[in-house]
């Protein structure tokens, strides 16, 4: 009888302990996963923090020129493709209409007729406007005709 009772106590204790251990194990695993996730995020941030400054500068220029001047988010990606800081600066100095023409021609790949229709002028005028912008950029870049 006494043996039976002590067995029952032992069984109850074992069941109690098993439940407690299982709960502890789950909470430990969850905590560890959270910690790991946190570490991954921190590593990500660290990688993002030590960028090359040129990339950051481009992003900044793009932001300034696109959002400040005409708030056109469409051309955002185009600006990021420009890999020369000086060119980005020159484009930044163009006025909004000139920039739109340039992006439409270069990234939008429109021909002069389409360009003219889009900006309300003749194809010839659009061509002249485009080459005027290119000349302006060349001048800004300080290079000769053949180099650009």
């Amino acid at each position: 009888m006494e043996k039976k009772q002590t067995d029952s106590v032992q069984n109850r204790f074992t069941a109690y302990l098993m439940a407690a251990v299982a709960n502890k194990r789950i909470s430990y695993m969850e905590q560890r996963n959270r910690k790991k996730e946190k570490e991954y995020i921190q590593v990500d941030l660290m990688e993002k923090n030590h960028v090359d400054f040129e990339a950051q500068y481009h992003a900044y220029l793009a932001e300034q020129s696109l959002l400040f001047y005409f708030g056109d988010v469409e051309a955002w990606d185009n600006m990021l493709e420009i890999d020369s800081v000086q060119l980005a600066k020159c484009i930044n100095r163009l006025n909004s209409r000139e920039r739109k023409i340039l992006f439409a021609r270069v990234f939008g790949e429109l021909n002069f007729k389409e360009l003219g229709t889009k900006f309300g002028m003749e194809a010839k005028q659009a061509e002249m406007a485009y080459y005027y912008i290119i000349r302006k950029l060349r001048k800004g870049m300080g290079v000769g005709k053949d180099e650009f």
Binding site: E2, K3, Q5, T6, D7, V9, Q10, R12, F13, T14, Y16, L17, M18, A20, V21, A22, K24, R25, Y28, M29
Partner: protein, 60 residues
């Protein structure tokens, strides 16, 4: 000595009784401290602490 008495002694803080219970339940703790077939030392420590906690809190 039966388990009930052992547990009573362990509850009062008897180190020997606690060790005896710890020896009995060690395999259970080790089994639960395995993570993908790798023994996790920290988890084992936590589970050992849980066992001592259970001894304290278990109502006879």
């Amino acid at each position: 000595m039966n388990f009930e008495m052992l547990l009573e002694r362990a509850k009062t803080g008897d180190k020997e009784a606690q060790e005896e219970i710890f020896r009995m339940y060690r395999p259970l703790l080790i089994k639960n401290a395995m993570d993908r077939n790798v023994f996790d030392e920290d988890l084992y420590q936590e589970l050992s602490a849980t066992l001592l906690n259970c001894i304290r809190k278990f109502r006879l």
